[in-house]
Symmetry: C2
Subunit: 488 residues, 2 copies
């Protein structure tokens, strides 16, 4: 019998041996009627005195697990059928069970399970006003016509027709990519997560725009990477600072959202994009270019994607193509080159074998109808009007306590306020109004009195009421700090 | 200017400084016409002699990036618009770019992209013969009626009605679980991967049945865990060995597939299940109970799941509920208790925010029709007949070189052969016949001349031809070892 004894442990050797023997009997290793090793043999095997084993066997006997027949040895007893375990649970042992989970902030900040009147926390578009619901219904019906789509797994990289379609669409936007450098992901978040788990680890430096998208912070945090926040100016991430930081601590990854930066809604200038790529090239690191919003720009044009400038495989491009079309299908896409792509493909297969085939086929059918420029132009026009309305409403209802710059792309306003955003969040809840507290967007959770409001998913006819309410609450919260009794 | 000089480097200080300055100019940190720091100032700042900086600036000038005006200083030159980069790519830098990817074996062993005549590699069921395609079409059509399902994200844990339905179904099978201890995953593989990335890390011991499911090995491998394979006997994983191993190196996780073990098709006895749980309890570790096949048993009954015996949160139960119903929707489910569940939920949100809502709603509608016992009884009966037929065909066509035990549950036969399975795989390919080489199921890739054949997805009318062909190829491969010229 192999027993590992802890000679410095709290328990005496006798008790340790007795427990080990009892465990073996309970687990069925020794069956009823079986002879246990002789005292002498066991003592020799585990290097203790004969007396210690005799004492241990005595405990085993006393607890009812064995019986000693003098001159014959110690036998395992037939155990009574154990009573059914009590209904009470004891999960306490789990507390000391080690895990590799990072702090996940984003999930905690997102309200769930309730139909909110003013869901400003959401960065999606209004279903009723913007999304091509009819085309989606047709697309899923088409996909459903071929029963194979329910019954087959997709290739880990994704379904070929969809990959070819996406590669072609990207080529038209200047991104040189073939279907063998492109994979379909289960939403854009999976793309971020695949990159994080493939390339970021403890001690690796990941640079991000500050503020940035909270769920990306979560993914890098969960890998134990060191996240360095880089401030931005009107052209985007500050290249001057970045250059100095690179000198001191070259990063493994730089994560940016060049168009419709989340949460600020800014667009990175072409010069900054080029400089960023040049830096990545000189220091041999990867840029993660997250692009959920490039269809939703409010400027006349947008600079080319960094990926389209990339010659030597320094850019991993993540397209949340589905965000402006079909959030519920969770289709995203990842572009990368060389062995970087192959390594990501490997991890994709481990993560979920493949993105559901039915969703890919549905999305493919959808793109046949709505991927053309006319569709995006119409969404863009509607969202631009909405953005201008929000800007106007904020000026109308927001006091001096509120400052902001209207977004250049995407569905978010980033507001600075003197209010305590945590308290504001609690205050807003009973009114059915939600937003993203800015703290989630900073690596140090400081927040500096910011909130992010997504205006895309609040219906037009609720917008004025919602913004007015929000401004009233901000004002109220500001006052409460000084005159808690006045308003209640 | 911050320049980190490598004083032990291959490059001279002069060249290093020149390169650093050129990088800053190319990246846009210094703009055309801007004055570079004075020679004296820079020399002092970075701790080198004035002469070194003068030489460095000279290089910068020679390369065309700056111009020195005597008595005034060195100015950045307006750079010519860079020529468009050449079409050739240089991905070589990526080779030294470190990653955290484990060897992924399963993906490599799975043929893709071709419609095979005899797809014995697949462990899924035949679409045409077994899957409820009509019910699936109806279910997706129902889900599509509510356009919200395209336009909304699900909660990270999954859509509430589906979770309630699954929790209720599990309760009826003796698993005490509420909807708050159950999450929907994007296929069962995601469940395995979530557990691996949450709880397994470098140095942690993960024990598995040997042989086991290759994609699970991939998930644990990708985490850098130490995987210990435990042999099985007719009752399942060998508790006697496990008990000894626990003494020496207590594991963090034990991964088992008690019903329809993959690849062997065995069923673990109730006694072994109980003993395994008792061991996990005494050593405070987690059992990962993977259950893709419990509906497909060929014995009269099957023992209760380990999860149903678990009182204190030692079991994480993974149900590939969709495997026998709708592989293309990729719906799986995970049950766990206490903080173990909460930690997994955290990681699920990081992995993909949520499983697509449309798939969950479709699956929910599907379960209203086909989750009853009658559906599974009919699939079970069909698959049992098929299994018996395969067994008969193997006896008919397989020579002495082939031994096997028919599966007790699931869609796989695990065959032992004296053939070289790698060579056999190549031999089979041109015939449109595929199987899983057994090596993928062992931690050391030894394989010992095994192959796994899934009979579920080969249509009834192809079965005889397929098995006869396989047996012929095995015989041929066996002969080839000795008489390579006889057959060609």
């Amino acid at each position: 019998m192999h027993i590992s004894l802890d000679k410095t442990g709290k328990e005496s050797l006798t008790v340790q041996i007795a427990q080990a023997v009892i465990e073996r009997i309970s687990s069925g290793m020794y069956e009823a009627g079986e002879l246990l090793p002789s005292v002498r043999k066991l003592a020799k095997e585990i290097g203790v005195s004969v007396l210690t084993v005799i004492r241990a066997y005595k405990i085993v006997e006393e607890k009812g697990y064995a019986v000693t027949l003098h001159g014959k040895g110690t036998y395992v007893r037939r155990l009574e059928k154990a009573a059914p375990p009590a209904a009470s649970h004891d999960y306490e042992w789990q507390e000391s069970y080690y895990d590799y989970v990072g702090r996940s902030i984003f999930g905690q900040q997102t309200p769930r399970g309730s139909r909110l009147l003013f869901p400003f926390h959401s960065a999606t578009l209004s279903k009723e006003e913007h999304l091509p619901l009819e085309a989606l219904q047709k697309a899923t019906a088409l996909a459903a016509r071929d029963p194979h789509t329910f019954a087959e797994y997709s290739s880990p990289l994704g379904d070929l027709p969809l990959r070819e379609h996406l590669a072609h669409a990207f080529q038209q936007r200047g991104i040189r990519v073939t279907e063998s450098e492109l994979m379909v992901t289960t939403g854009c978040q999976q793309g971020i997560d695949l990159v994080a788990r493939t390339f970021a680890g403890p001690g690796d430096i990941v640079m991000v725009e500050s503020p940035t998208y909270p769920a990306a912070l979560d993914a890098f945090r969960s890998r134990g990477a060191t996240i360095l926040p880089i401030p931005c100016d009107s052209s985007g991430i500050r290249i001057d600072l970045l250059t100095r930081m690179f000198d001191q601590r070259p990063p493994k990854l730089i994560y940016v959202i060049p168009t419709g930066q989340n949460p600020t809604g800014k667009i990175m200038s072409e010069q900054t994009r080029r400089s960023l790529l040049a830096l990545a090239e000189s220091f041999h690191c990867l840029i993660v270019e997250d692009d959920p919003w490039s269809e939703l720009h409010y400027t006349a044009t947008i600079p080319p994607s960094i990926c389209s400038m990339d010659q030597n495989g320094h850019v991993i491009y993540l397209k949340g193509y589905s965000k402006v079309i079909a959030p519920g299908l969770r289709i995203g896409c990842l572009v990368a080159r060389g062995s970087v792509f192959l390594r990501l493909a490997n991890v994709k297969a481990i993560a979920d074998l493949a993105t559901p085939l039915f969703n890919q086929r549905s999305f493919y059918h959808l793109l046949q109808n709505v991927s053309d420029e006319r569709y995006f132009e119409s969404v863009r026009a509607k969202m631009k009007r909405k953005k201008e309305r929000v800007d106007k409403l904020l000026r109308q209802h927001g006091g001096a306590a509120l400052t902001w710059e209207a977004p250049q792309a995407g569905p978010n306003f980033w507001l600075q306020t003197s209010a305590n955003t945590e308290a504001l969040s609690l205050l807003a809840k009973p009114h059915g109004l939600s937003f993203l507290p800015g703290a989630a967007c900073f690596t140090d959770l400081s927040g500096g009195g910011h909130i992010r409001i997504g205006f895309g998913s609040v219906p037009d006819d609720k917008l004025e009421e919602g913004i007015a309410l929000l401004c009233r609450l901000i004002e109220k919260q500001g006052k409460e700090l000084y005159e808690p009794d006045v308003l209640s």
